[in-house]
Structure formats: C-alpha cells, structure tokens
C-alpha cells in the first residue's frame, strides 16, 4: 500500500489484483451490467492510482476505494435513471422456500433489483462487502443513522421475498 502510494506500479498491480473482484461485483450488483461494471472498475482503479497520494490513512484504503467506486456507479446511474426506474417495476419473485439453489440466486438478484439504489448499495456494502455502518457512512458520505435505516429497510424487503413467514398450509 505504501509502495503503491509512492508510485510503485508493481505494488499497485498487486493491490488491484487483490481488490478488483470485490469492486467489480459491487459495481455489478449496483449497475447490473457486466460491461458497464468492467468499464467502471477500470475507471475506479485509474482514479484511485492518480489520487492515491491523497489518501492519508492507508488503513482506510478499502473504504476510500469503495467511495470512488460509489461515485463512479452513481454517476452512471444518474445518466440512465429512466431505464433503471423501469427495471425496478419487475414483478416480485416467488418465495425462496420453494426454489432450487439456482432459482434462489435468481430470486435474490430480482429482490435486490427491486430495492432502491440507495437501499441496494447499502445492503451490498453491508452483506456482501462486510463493511461496518461507520465505514459505509464514510463511503456514502451520509450519517450512520441513514446507513442503518437503509440497511434495515432493505433487509425487511429482502426478507419478505427470500424468507417469508410460513402460513398454515405452506410446507
């Protein structure tokens, strides 16, 4: 990390290989397009390299990197917002209890797509990327309470689809 900050390209390559998959999947779940996600990943790592010297605390590299990724993703989402809003109107998937694993993953993808962008991003950063609320607040530049609210609301919505309350006759 320190070597990368001093302009060591090889060290930065190691850093990229360590983080590229996580960044790509974060962007993929957010923008939902592989090509866009790859392009955004390239941009994220280029911008990170160019501004790496401004990172004062190397321990906060991951949050700082995802902050850049967040900005890139929402820059793209703002450009194509009408399309996203149409996609958000997809019908809900059936309950996960009756699905095969492949169907479950499709249901998860569908359930994530029905969340708002803010909720989806918050839950991705929490559930898939494992950041703490405070770190997510730093990435999104919003209060911890906002992050908490978005994650909790997203969890309730996901839970309705993926782990519905079993009623009498369901088995």
């Amino acid at each position: 990390m320190l070597q990368s900050r001093d302009g060591d390209v090889e060290a930065y390559n190691h850093l990229v290989s360590r983080w590229e998959k996580r960044v790509y999947n974060y962007l993929l779940r957010l923008v939902r397009d592989p090509e866009d996600s790859l392009d955004l990943s390239q941009d994220v790592f280029l911008k990170a390299y160019q501004s790496l010297r401004r990172l004062e605390d190397p321990a906060r590299f991951s949050a700082w990197l995802f902050r850049i990724a967040h900005n890139e993703a929402f820059s793209l989402l703002r450009k194509r917002r009408p399309e996203t809003e149409l996609a958000d109107q997809a019908p809900p998937s059936p309950p996960a209890a009756k699905m095969l694993p492949v169907e479950t993953s499709l249901a998860v993808a569908s359930a994530l797509n029905r969340l708002s962008e803010d909720q989806r991003e918050a839950v991705i950063l929490k559930m898939y990327q494992g950041f703490k609320f405070e770190e997510i607040a730093g990435i999104l530049e919003c209060p911890v309470s906002t992050v908490k609210s978005r994650v909790y609301t997203a969890l309730d919505l996901l839970k309705e689809t993926l782990a519905p309350i079993e009623t009498r006759g369901d088995a």
Binding site: D6, G7, V9, E10, Y12, N13, V16, S17, E20, K21, R22, Y24, N25, L28, R29, P34, L38, S41, Q42, F45, L46, Y49, R53, A96, P101, T104, S105, A107, V108, A109, L112, K126, M127, Y128, K132, F133, K148, V151, Y152, L155, L158, K159, L162, A163, I165
Partner: protein, 195 residues
Amino acid sequence: MSCSEFDLKGYFLEELPGEERAQVEAHLPACQECREELARLRLTDAAMMTLRDEEIPQRIAFVSDKVFEPAWWQRLWQSAPRLGFASAAMLAAAIFVHAFTRPAPVIAPSGVETAEVERMIEREVARRLDTAVAEAVAAAETRNEERTAGLLQAAAEQFEMQRQADLLTVQESFDYLRKQMNVSYMASAYQEASQ
C-alpha cells in the same frame, strides 16, 4: 415480528456494542418471536449468499502501462526525504562545478618586470646557443683530426711499402752487378791462364 426494545437486525449484523449484544442473547431463549425473526434474517442471509461473486471478465492491467508510471521527478517531488537529499546533492554539485569552472586570477605584470624577464630569456637563449655552437665546432674539429690522422697513417704506410720495394730492387741490382763482375773476373783469369 419481534420485541421492539431489542435491535435484532443490529445483533444479526454484528453492529451492537457488547452490552446490548449480551442483552439480546439473554432475551432470545425466552422469546419465540425474536428467535423466529432471527431465523428469518439468517435464512435471508443464506439466500443472499447463493448469489456468488462473479469472476471479473478481464483483468484490470492498465496500470502496468509505462505511461501511468510517474516520471522520476514526480516521484522525487512527492517524497520529502528524497527531495531533501536531492536538494543537498544539487547544492553540492553546484559548489563543485563553480569551483572548477571559475577562471583563475590573472596578475598583470609591470613593465619593468617584463623587460627583466625578456633580458633573462635572451641571456638564457644566447647561453644555450653558444654552448650548442661550441659543441658543434668541437665535434667537427674532432672529426677532421681523426680524418687527417687516418690519411697520414695511410700515407706513411704506403711510403714504407715503397721504400721496402726500392731497397729490394737496389739489392737485386747490386747482386746482378756483382755476379757480372765475378763472371768478367773469371773470364779474364781463364784467358790469362790459357795464354
């Protein structure tokens, strides 16, 4: 549904401080609703984890391109210790170059000293010229004496050879004359005896 006084989602997401976490753990065995809610959260999490990370279709390798590497001066400029060292090195180099490129001080000689130096040079040149001429003359004289001595010796040897030859001729002439005289004497003596 769950008991509103406990933050089950915070507990599930491991965001609660130790004291609140302990309170939830103490509450759960006694509350069926909270246990069911927690089970749903875990089921949701398990379902979400079926959505696995995808491999990135193309490695991000643009940073290996040389054009993204900072120039040497950029690296130098961005490193305070290196910049300090470089400044000191440049200062030392400047002093070194100045010391070697500064023109030597020129002392203008006075007119009197110049004339004296010229006289000294002339005297030295004349002394060395005289010495050279004397040495050349001496060498020539030596060579002439040697040549004369050689010629004289050759003439003396030739004269001696001629004298020896003349003496031999005189000796032979004298011997011939004495033989003739002996023949004449014997002939005269025979005639006298026969008469």
